[in-house]
Assembly symmetry: C2
Homo-oligomer: 221 residues x 2
């Protein structure tokens, strides 16, 4: 009987502070597997990634991955969960807060900082980009995760945009705040893909900042 201890988080309930499970060695192995899996999913997508390929990179047998995560889909979800816990949660105003409670300049700075940091981790950017494109397919395993993730970012932005419009800092343009925010999110993604395809041709953080300032009616610092 297999252990199938994989704690494939439901993509929303974070178990960061749960008691450590298993032995230290096993947890370490799981971490390196997730890291290598992220690279592979990024470069080859879900369908193009093989358990054996990841295992080779991680220096373990492929059956070890199965032991730790159950199956390929669960591994993908573990990668996404790991990415999320590492890159978004920590530096974005919590979505549960009142949207307008965060100063817009702080929002802009936070997002631009994220974009700037993404430049140092092209693999992770490509992970989400590749999966986002693949997940246009209706039953892609990463689809719910990506939908929820993009909506979370969109809603934060939409809240800020709405607040700025009410305050008269930026004028209505016929779009809802949600639509305007969705455009920013989509453009950001597109800029990252474009940047990967045409290195050093555009400056993603700078262009994102322009877009954010325009849509939020915030003058350059």
């Amino acid at each position: 009987m297999h252990c199938r201890s994989a704690r494939y988080a439901p993509a929303v309930a974070s178990d960061t502070d749960a008691v450590a499970v298993g032995y230290a060695k096993g947890r370490a192995t799981k971490d390196t597997i997730v890291a290598r899996a992220a690279e592979s999913f990024a470069q080859r997508g879900f369908h193009g990634t093989t358990l054996r390929g990841i295992a080779r990179e991680a220096g373990v047998d492929h059956s070890t991955l199965v032991h730790h995560f159950g199956d390929k889909t669960a591994l993908l979800l573990a990668v996404l969960d790991w990415y999320d816990r590492m890159h978004l949660t920590e530096e974005l105003p919590d979505a549960s807060e009142m949207p307008a409670s965060v100063p817009v300049t702080q929002l802009v700075d936070g997002l631009v900082a994220t974009a700037r940091r993404n430049r140092e981790a092209p693999g992770l950017v490509q992970l989400l980009s590749t999966l986002s494109a693949e997940a246009g397919e209706a039953d892609h395993p990463a689809r719910p995760f990506l939908q929820q993730r993009q909506h979370q970012l969109r809603d934060i932005l939409a809240g800020a945009i709405r607040a700025q419009r009410v305050a008269g800092a930026v004028d209505e343009d016929g779009t809802t705040p949600e639509q305007a925010a969705a455009v920013v999110v989509a453009s950001w993604e597109g800029l990252q893909v474009y940047d990967a395809l045409h290195p050093d041709e555009i400056d993603v953080p700078a262009l994102l900042e322009r877009e954010l300032r325009r849509v939020l009616g915030v003058a350059a610092s």
Copy 2:
């Protein structure tokens, strides 16, 4: 000895009007293969697509694909070439023309029409999106094609933007026309991906039109 008659176009030299090669039946088969291959590449990406899967959809043996196209990569390039010939070339001002020679309103209308038509062919959009994201990897087989393709569109747009700026229809904003054009191209791509992931949430053609009019300084019709 295999025939290997595949005319894998070098992605730029179009042989549209070359003399027909092979028999009519063979050409018809090739066409349906390309169509089914496009769907598969769109839904599963390059790595996730199998020759046998395409063959099954096309109602032929998988070795027939090999006979006609040589190998999987050549088939991908054939699909891209076909897509290009069908969707971009015919309704965009030829890149070889003087950029400013085309009225900007016509350019806007043409691109918006393309975006509107893309809505009817989500598979093809996803094909290019998935490949673009995958092709962030340096040695992806579709990379040169996609780079050249996006640059072509960018250059057309950049020419129009430059002309409009010279004419004073839109003011300088510190970016080069190429950069401004690249942002539009990137945003367009991003909007399409976002749309596939969140059906009926945004209106891609309308948003593209807004973006184009803003960057080109063209009032709404």
